[in-house]
Subunit: 144 residues, 2 copies
DNA sequence: TAATTAAAAGACTTTTTTGTCTTTTAATAA
DNA sequence: TTATTAAAAGACAAAAAAGTCTTTTAATTA
């Protein structure tokens, strides 16, 4: 469904939302442990998201990654688009060069319903909402 | 959603169902042209599906790939499982080592609905059904 | 201001996926 | 039964994804 990069990105964003809700920042090492990802790999992913304005960061002592209140309203769709592009939102399920109602592949009519559900889900789900459930220990970002 | 290999496999299966419905066989070159895929690549994919009993073939002159009436009832789920494994049917959407109701990731409750829709769709859709729509020129396997 | 801290940047490696090419095997037809 | 045809098999190669390591830059703190 999503690339490994994108899975890590989403998990990291939720973790950062949680750890920085009091206005503090969280470092790469803590993030990597918190979501069980390779440290340098998630660093690169977050740098990329930083350049795109999806996450915020600060260097130096007491530095790290954080999300402000508006960042916590970021939708999963924003993250997925930034990392994986918009293939999942508009690409053909059977790999035709483009998806089209006028020139549909055999799976088109079934597929666009599912694609719409995925799109709706990603558009409506905000990082902050997921973080709240995490706070209540209702969900988890790693398997211990 | 699916790997390139799996996309080609599904398109090839539908094409073979169409071209062999009169009891004849269709060669690799024709299949590659018909679905716009690399010739040697789809050959390997179909050999693999052949070994797994998902498609039938015959060597020599007048040889090629074909599907009998029972093969035409093959579901997309069978093809997807044979090629991509069952990640899409049971894997965690955020990449946790395993998906579980007891230890759900933040996306779990939203994700299992979509996964169920995908599973239902793949289980109910048969190669022969898709081939019929193709015959009526309602759908296409390539973009010209 | 100098030392320290932590992200940013970028080069590099490994693994997986995707794609290509050549040789072998098995079927048919002359 | 020999020549021909087409899939099977398997070795390679290229590209993309995933992961690692080192150096640089920009903050903070002493
Ligand atoms: S054309 Fe394939 S999903 Fe739309
Ligand atoms: S645990 Fe992630 S989808 Fe079920």
């Amino acid at each position: 469904m999503f690339s490994k990069t994108c899975e890590y990105a989403i998990r990291a964003m939720i973790f950062i939302a949680q750890q920085s809700k009091d206005g503090s920042r969280v470092g790469i090492k803590e993030i990597a442990k918190g979501i069980d990802s390779p440290e340098h790999f998630i660093a690169k992913i977050l740098q990329d998201l930083g350049r795109k304005g999806v996450v915020q960061s600060l260097k130096g002592p007491t530095g790290g990654f954080y999300l402000d209140n508006s960042g916590r309203k970021t939708t999963l769709a924003t993250i997925v688009k930034a990392v994986d592009g918009d293939d999942i939102f508009s690409g053909c399920g059977l790999g035709l060069k483009q998806c089209s109602d006028k020139h549909p592949c055999p799976l088109h009519h079934e597929f666009i319903n599912i694609r719409k559900d995925i799109t709706n889900m990603l558009n409506k789900t905000k990082v902050g909402d997921l973080q709240e459930q995490l706070d209540k220990k209702l969900t988890f970002l790693r398997r211990d």
